[in-house]
């Protein structure tokens, strides 16, 4: 399946704003993140500091991904 990944702030500086990734069915959001961190060393400072969102809602790390999901890895927010 394919999912879309969106990245913001410091993560966007490393990876750009937007990726499409091909994944096996049954992948969790945390597994996708770990794979991305393994593939891109510059993500390692953020490895334990992101929240996971799918389709514009926060999800737990063991959430299963579905085809065409919009996944986001969010650094600690600092709006306001």
């Amino acid at each position: 399946m394919k999912v879309r990944v969106r990245l913001f702030a410091a993560l966007r500086d490393v990876m750009g704003p937007d990726l499409e990734i091909e994944l096996p069915l049954g992948t969790t959001v945390e597994e996708l993140w770990k794979r991305m961190v393994a593939d891109e060393e510059r993500l390692s400072p953020f490895a334990d500091a992101v929240s996971f969102a799918v389709n514009h809602d926060f999800v737990a790390k063991d959430a299963l991904l579905n085809p065409d999901d919009e996944v986001a890895f969010l650094p600690p927010v600092s709006g306001g």
């Binding site: 913001f8 514009h56 927010v77 709006g79 306001g80």
Partner: protein
């Protein structure tokens, strides 16, 4: 009601758009850009949002306010892009029949916004810039 904007409206305009005949109180919060942070002179801030999710999370805060205080009349506007020192980055306006509810809901909304709304700021100094991180809450579902 809940918007990511380039320019924030003034609070009087925002309040007039939501106040009803039953309202006797308006509480507002505005966040303004400080000229210094930890002793360093700030030139300006750059805000970036995940706009679709930010609006969804602000709407959730509105739902929480409705559930807790029965208030449906709240507006939130948050700017993105460059915001200069002294300018307003976020405005929250709550109107209510009674003032205590207006204050409580407004204070709740800004505290919640700073935890769950996906917006980030970059501080730009004379000699560099840095993404500001809020309190870390790793992989938690807020």
């Amino acid at each position: 009601m809940y918007e990511i904007v380039q320019d924030i409206l003034d609070v009087r305009t925002l309040a007039q758009e939501i106040a009803t005949d039953a309202d006797g109180a308006i509480a507002t919060f505005s966040g303004i850009v400080r000229g210094t942070n930890k002793g360093k002179k700030v030139l300006f801030l750059e805000y970036e949002a995940y706009p679709e999710m930010a609006v969804k999370m602000m709407t959730r805060i509105g739902d929480e306010v409705k559930e807790t205080w029965g208030l449906e009349s709240m507006r939130i506007q948050h700017r993105v892009g460059r915001v200069n020192v002294g300018e307003t980055s976020v405005v929250i306006v709550v109107t209510s029949p009674h003032r205590d509810d207006a204050f409580a809901a407004c204070q709740y909304a800004i505290n919640r916004l700073k935890r769950i709304v996906p917006i980030w700021k970059r501080e730009v100094f004379e000699d560099g810039e840095v993404w500001v991180e809020g309190p870390t809450e790793t992989a938690e579902v807020p």
